[in-house]
Point group: C2
Chain length 178, copies 2
DNA sequence: GTCTATACGAAGATAGAC
DNA sequence: GTCTATCTTCGTATAGAC
């Protein structure tokens, strides 16, 4: 059910992710929603963000110690898979909450996740040999450009933005560029 | 009223932009909404997207013939102003529609706008002396990274992502890099 | 735990008076 | 043109039976 919420969040946004939709999409019994999520929709979306965030962090982790280009490649692959599986319809659940949630608690949690992603990516770059400042710059650029590319691909129904951004980011991750 | 809709769209998303909110934010009389916008909310948001798109294109235009770094600087300034005026709360109206609109007509219009932005930016880079392929790659990267940076700044309440991305994009726009 | 039924509010849209 | 009143739909949340 949490995974279903993530999927809906990523494709239709916060307001498009109603309980009815989540239930219909996952086949979950209706009567037990507030049994499992006493906090209602906020709690469900909170769990969904958590799930999405952990998944992303877990995917990045095995690249620890590898060159920066490998880290970037793995990060790009994560999002390429998302776009591919959804036929360019799904995006980032965290971004969806950031730009369209009325709930300040949820937006704050999205803030935490974004910060964690940046820190994690920057640390992976540091371990791979980059100095702290360029590592943080590269991390911010990679996350921003990738998130933006995903949105553009969804809008334009084309892989072109993603391919262009991927090429650019990989060249930026080459040793000595930043 | 259209400008008010753009503002709400950029800060709260599609579902957060109710007629009541737009009216309250702009002081428009309530009874005449469907007089001016017979198509209802869809028509209002359509007009809002149009307005936002034209504004962006108009801001870019005076950089025609200037070096690519100047074009990028002006584009970045456009978004820096938006973030600054809203204290890191507002974002891109077109992006908001792309990620959270149930209306396929609106999403399609957002697609058109994204395409127009990319084409326009790529043409400015071409005029400034870049070859077609790198011009398109730089255009896609600039738009994606900037849009992503705006979202991250909103999420984290920090200018850090934007500053990092701005520095990276400016170095990418230097002659001969791409 | 899971169900049905229902209360409650929000928001889009329409009708008709002025 | 602008207003008020109202209809309708939808989504969250609760109550209570099984």
């Amino acid at each position: 059910m949490i995974a279903g919420a993530v999927r809906l969040l990523a494709t239709r946004g916060v307001e498009g992710t109603s309980f009815a939709d989540v239930l219909a999409a996952t086949g979950t019994p209706r009567g037990s929603v507030y049994h499992h999520f006493p906090g209602g929709k906020t709690e469900l979306l909170h769990a969904a963000l958590d799930y999405a965030s952990e998944h992303a962090l877990a995917v990045m982790e095995p690249t620890r110690g590898k060159p920066a280009t490998v880290v970037v490649k793995r990060f790009l692959a994560l999002w390429r898979e998302l776009l591919d599986r959804s036929d360019l319809a799904a995006g980032c659940a965290v971004l969806a909450v950031t730009v369209a949630s009325a709930d300040a608690t949820l937006r704050d949690y999205a803030e935490t996740i974004c910060g964690a992603w940046t820190d994690h990516l920057a640390e992976l770059f540091s371990v791979s040999g980059m100095k702290t400042a360029p590592a943080r710059q590269l991390a911010a650029t990679v996350i921003a450009a990738t998130e933006g590319a995903v949105v553009l691909c969804r809008a334009q129904h084309t892989w072109e933005p993603f391919d262009h951004v991927a090429a650019t980011l990989l060249s930026l991750a080459e040793p000595g560029v930043l």
